[in-house]
Amino acid sequence: GSAGLVPEQGRRKYAAPLSQDTLSTFEARLLSLFGLKQRPSPSRSAVVPRYMLDLFAAYSANAEPKHGAGKRSLGRESEKSASRANTIRSFHHDESTEELSSHSAKTTQRFLFNLSSIPREEFVTSAELRIYREQVTTAANSSSNNSSLGYHRINIHEIMKPGLSFKEPITRLLDTRLVQHSLSKWESFDVSPAVLRWTAEGHANRGFVVEVVHPSSADRDYKKHVRVSRSLHDSEDSWPQMRPLLVTYSHDGKGHVLHTRQKRQAR
């Protein structure tokens, strides 16, 4: 019934002459082909990140060329990652486990991404953590645009051991970047070493700590520049598309890797 791959609507249209057994076998075979245990039935609120649509346009073997789609470069790192993978998965963090703390000089946020849906037979080749930063528009913005005050440092750490009794967790730095708050832009951080440790080596996934070190005299608005938490911003509507995104690139050992349209045509 509802767990089947072909819903009632499709069954009525095509499957009338087939017996229930035949149809069940057919559905089981298709589910297995897609690597699914049951037919997905997403809710209306399910969010498809814009980045995944861009990746589809750029790397899919069959995407129709649209105006500009696929031509837009997603970056050399993305192309390199895709060239070793046949599967790209995206993950949003579990908001119930996040721990936001904001001091005068820095904002830190703990993220936990549940990666248990990655099948064991799939080898993760690389992973990126994408974080959106939004241009700060305040009266003081124009005066500080070109000064060193506009720079924030974003540090991405892997949590190696959780902090016990109010102590800081033991972490290791994975990636770092200095950004200026006069731009709205997605930043991609290489978190492959951590995700490989969790998936291939079986280490416990304790999540990431994203640390944003603000300019020394930053006021409250500037601390909102990097969108690491829903609570930092009033605009709830934009959060589903602006929230941090973990993207994993993997290969299940079956078939070809993803290529850009230009590379496919050349081949």
Partner: protein
């Protein structure tokens, strides 16, 4: 009286087949594409097998034997070249996945 004309059976070739995901109600979990051209192979593999029928040595021999012994079937018209299809879909946990599925589109047919 004129003899009834023997109906000419088409030789093995690729035919159009578009799989539309909305027809089977899969468009709620497959985000893109809306469907894809899968194609299929159909047609005769007649004796003698012509070069354009993309046959193997074995298919030529099997067709030859069939011409003298009908108990042995003719060679089959099957896909000889397939290409992948990429699907962007939501899994059972509403996570978005882009995956390349191999051997989904028939690129060429032949007698095998």
């Amino acid at each position: 009286t004129s003899k009834p004309k023997k109906k000419h059976k088409a030789n093995c070739r690729r035919h159009s087949l578009y799989v539309d995901f909305s027809d089977v109600g899969w468009n709620d979990w497959i985000v893109a594409p809306p469907g894809y051209h899968a194609f299929y192979c159909q047609g005769e593999c007649p004796f003698p097998l012509a070069d354009h029928l993309n046959s193997t040595n074995h298919a030529i021999v099997q067709t030859l034997v069939n011409s003298v012994n009908s108990n042995i079937p003719k060679a089959c018209c099957v896909p000889t070249d397939l290409s992948p299809v990429s699907l962007l879909y939501l899994d059972e946990y509403e996570r978005v996945i882009l995956k390349n599925y191999q051997d989904m589109v028939v690129e060429g047919c032949g007698c095998r």
